[in-house]
């Protein structure tokens, strides 16, 4: 009965995991280590999880499927859906570039087949 307060802002994540493998030539240089810290300090983790693993209804997974820089940066500044907007004043361009660099550097998770708890069950 209670309306869900937070819904997914799916566009910040690429539609497919193929984005993770694509180069993003338009992206400014970023410091991935700083980006990881900023991801926490600027509260991105609140919806997307501390590992950018996705927070269910609150925010989609970004690890492994972050969108190309033009779409990513534009969406962060002016989200069309439910995401909390981050203007330049709140999150300067360089900080956003650092976060982007970290998101693109996140290693792939272990294969599902290697995790017994996630194996299909009958």
């Amino acid at each position: 009965m209670f309306k869900r307060l937070i819904v997914a802002a799916a566009l910040i994540a690429g539609a497919t995991s193929a984005y993770a493998q694509q180069a993003s030539p338009d992206a400014p240089a970023g410091n991935a280590a700083k980006g990881k810290t900023l991801f926490l300090e600027r509260a991105c983790w609140q919806c997307h999880g501390r590992e950018a693993q996705g927070g269910g209804a609150a925010g989609p997974r970004l690890a492994g499927r972050v969108a190309p820089w033009p779409a990513f940066s534009r969406y962060v500044r002016r989200p069309a859906e439910e995401m909390i907007p981050y203007t330049v004043k709140v999150l300067p361009d360089q900080e956003l570039a650092d976060i982007y660099a970290w998101l693109r550097s996140i290693p792939a998770p272990p294969p599902v087949a290697s995790i017994p708890q996630l194996a299909p069950r009958k």
Binding site: K3, I6, A43, E51, A52, E82, L91, P109
Partner: protein, 645 residues
């Protein structure tokens, strides 16, 4: 004795007054005091009696006692009859935090009623008591009785009653009151134990209430209340039970009669309208079923599966709709559907429209302009104006007043009659595509759960997967939270459906009530418990341990009211102030410094508990230990530190 001021009656003042009263009683000359005993120090000396007065007093104090005419006792109190009435309604349990306004009924339930059917459940807070009753109904399918008193106890109960109202739960409330001012004890019975109209406090949330003036009236209203509570759409009811009616002797017992309870059958939708709806559904290219609270039992779930399979239509929705790994579960899309069947959907506007919580609020339809919406619901049959639980008004193409489960057999038959060979081919092709999409979605869910697998704090996805892996071979039942697509919800009783506790603070108690209802079947009950909710009425845990209600509680402890953290971040960003504080501790929303030790809290109330557990590698062994304790009949709690989302 000094009379406490009405405006300053508190527990300390009451006890002080009671002590003074005791001392004064000792000072009064009486046969119970040995004449040779000196009065207590400080007590007034007894006034001297004349010989005539002494003689009269001696005669009075030594005269033979007539037990039949003893005004100090009652052989047949009204509350005994009330117990007969409650027994006729087949209540398994009555739950309460005790109160003197219902001391008569309390004593009758225990002694006259033998503390069976209903059995008394001891609870430490009225809000918890109502919510335990709410949770019990969700599994047992029948009401639990709850008793409190006006106004204080009822005020504590209000949030639980709001939950019953919101969740359309037929919780059966009894509220004791001391109506007659002459019968009230000074001071204490006037303030926290008496009202003119107690039900007025919660009437906006009740389906029905009454204040019986006689025992016959009580019997009739008690049966009526039960019947109305259980008539669709269901809802909470309340009887105000006068203390004098409980404590006074029954007058004319032979004339009293308890009416027979006959429940109303749920109303099916109009046959002509159902036939028209079937035409639309069978002709649809992309039908979609939005399921609210449809099924009351396993049969309701089976019927919805049958309708979905007849149409090969995807089913979206909470509650206990169809098994969650059924090929038709969870698929489809409101944006592409051409015919939508909404069943007891009380949030239909929210399902069919996009709403964005940005500075400029707005909503826009998700539906195709030509899409048809058919609504079958009982929710329009009983509404209240004050509480705004109706959402915005949603236009529909066809509105059928009826109970979905009662309507489904007719709708299924009507659809089957209309399926031609050509339509069957189209329907089967649609089913194949939906089944393939469903299988892909399940695989995607496995991949999603693998991200952050080794993170600490533990991801919610890993927590859920670890618990599932431990309980999946058991006869398990979720009593709230944490169950996702990777779990196999294959039976009606695996989940609770839409149970409402009135807001944060109710769900722990709901889980206890549900686990109680599962107890006789020996099911392993699992509850995923947020920390913020736990802190409201955590003493409900004691009711679970005291009454030996086995259950596994796995904390989702993010040490915050995290949803509020996100709301504050939204406000700060909208105002371009940012808010780095949120990562370190947000005033008003985070629950750190000191951290709360939920394991110790649970242990203090007799539960087995471990934690805090932040390392995901430690989860499985802890779960195995906890489940072993639950299977022995214990309450077990694991305080697991999790990511907030």
């Amino acid at each position: 004795m000094p009379r406490p001021s009405k405006s300053k009656v508190d527990r300390r003042g009451f006890l002080k007054g009671a002590g003074a009263a005791g001392a004064a009683a000792l000072a009064v000359p009486s046969a119970v005091v040995d004449a040779g005993t000196a009065p207590p120090e400080g007590a007034a000396a007894a006034p001297a009696l004349s010989p005539e007065q002494a003689s009269q007093r001696l005669a009075a104090e030594t005269a033979p006692l007539d037990d039949e005419a003893n005004p100090l006792v009652v052989a047949d109190p009204g509350s005994d009859f009330m117990v007969d009435v409650l027994k006729s309604l087949d209540f398994e349990y009555i739950i309460s935090n005790p109160g003197s306004s219902f001391r008569g009924l309390h004593e009758s339930l225990v002694n006259y009623g033998g503390n069976k059917s209903p059995e008394w459940l001891t609870c430490t807070h009225e809000q918890a008591a109502v919510n335990i009753a709410n949770g019990y109904y969700a599994v047992a399918g029948k009401p639990m009785a709850m008793i409190t008193f006006a106004p204080s106890g009822l005020q504590h109960a209000v949030m639980g009653i709001f939950g019953a109202f919101s969740g359309r739960t037929p919780t059966y409330l009894l509220c004791a009151n001391i109506l007659d001012g002459e019968a009230r004890r000074p001071a204490f019975d006037w303030g926290p134990h008496a009202m003119q109209d107690p039900a007025d406090m919660v009437r906006d949330m009740l389906k029905w209430d009454d204040t019986p003036g006689s025992l016959q009236h009580f019997a009739e209203s008690a049966v009526r209340a039960y019947k109305l509570a259980m008539t669709e759409p269901r809802g909470p009811v309340m009887l105000v039970v006068d203390a004098a009616l409980q404590e006074n002797a029954i007058a004319g017992r032979s004339r009293l009669r308890i009416p027979k309870l006959t429940l109303s059958t749920p109303p099916a939708g109009d046959a002509a309208a159902i036939a028209e709806a079937a035409k639309m559904l069978v002709a649809a290219e992309s039908p979609l079923i939005l399921a609210g609270s449809v099924a009351r039992d396993e049969d309701g779930m089976r019927l919805l599966v049958e309708l979905a399979e007849t149409l090969q239509a995807p089913v979206q929705g909470g509650g206990r709709a169809i098994p969650n790994q059924h090929p038709l579960s969870g698929g489809g899309n409101v944006r592409t559907a051409d015919v939508i069947l909404a069943l007891n959907e009380d949030g239909l506007f929210g399902r069919l429209n996009r709403y964005v919580d940005q500075q400029v609020r707005g909503s826009s339809p998700l539906l195709r302009p030509t899409a048809k919406v058919i609504s079958i619901t009982t929710y329009d049959l009983s509404t209240r104006g004050n509480y705004q639980n109706v959402e915005r008004f949603q236009e529909v193409s066809m509105a059928i007043a009826g109970d979905p489960q009662a309507t489904l057999p007719g709708l299924i038959e009507a659809c089957k009659r209309l399926v031609t060979a050509d339509r069957r081919r189209v329907i089967e092709e649609r089913g194949k595509a939906l089944a393939a999409a469903s299988a892909q979605a399940l695989e995607r869910a496995r991949v999603e759960a693998s991200y952050g697998w080794d993170a600490s704090p533990i991801t919610l996805q890993r927590l859920s997967a670890e618990v599932w892996d431990v309980v999946r071979t058991k006869d398990w039942a979720s009593v709230g939270g944490g169950v996702n697509r990777l779990w196999q919800v294959d039976k009606f009783y695996r989940t609770m459906g839409a149970v409402n506790g009135g807001g944060v603070g109710g769900s722990m108690s709901i889980a206890i009530g549900a686990a109680l209802a599962h107890r006789k079947q020996g099911r392993l009950c699992v509850r995923f418990q947020p920390d913020g909710d736990m802190l409201y009425v955590n003493s409900a845990l004691w009711t679970a341990t005291h009454h030996k209600i086995p259950m596994l509680i796995v904390m989702q402890n993010n040490r915050a009211y995290h949803q509020e953290v996100m709301h504050l971040q939204r406000m700060a960003n909208r105002r371009q102030r940012g808010m780095e504080l949120a990562s370190r501790g947000l005033p008003g929303s985070t629950l750190t410094d000191p951290n709360i030790d939920f394991a110790k809290m649970a242990q203090s109330m007799g539960a087995y508990a471990e934690g805090p557990i932040a390392n995901p590698q430690e989860l499985r062994p802890a779960l195995l230990r906890a489940v072993a304790r639950v299977e022995k009949g214990d309450v077990a709690l694991l305080d697991t530190l999790t990511q907030p989302r």
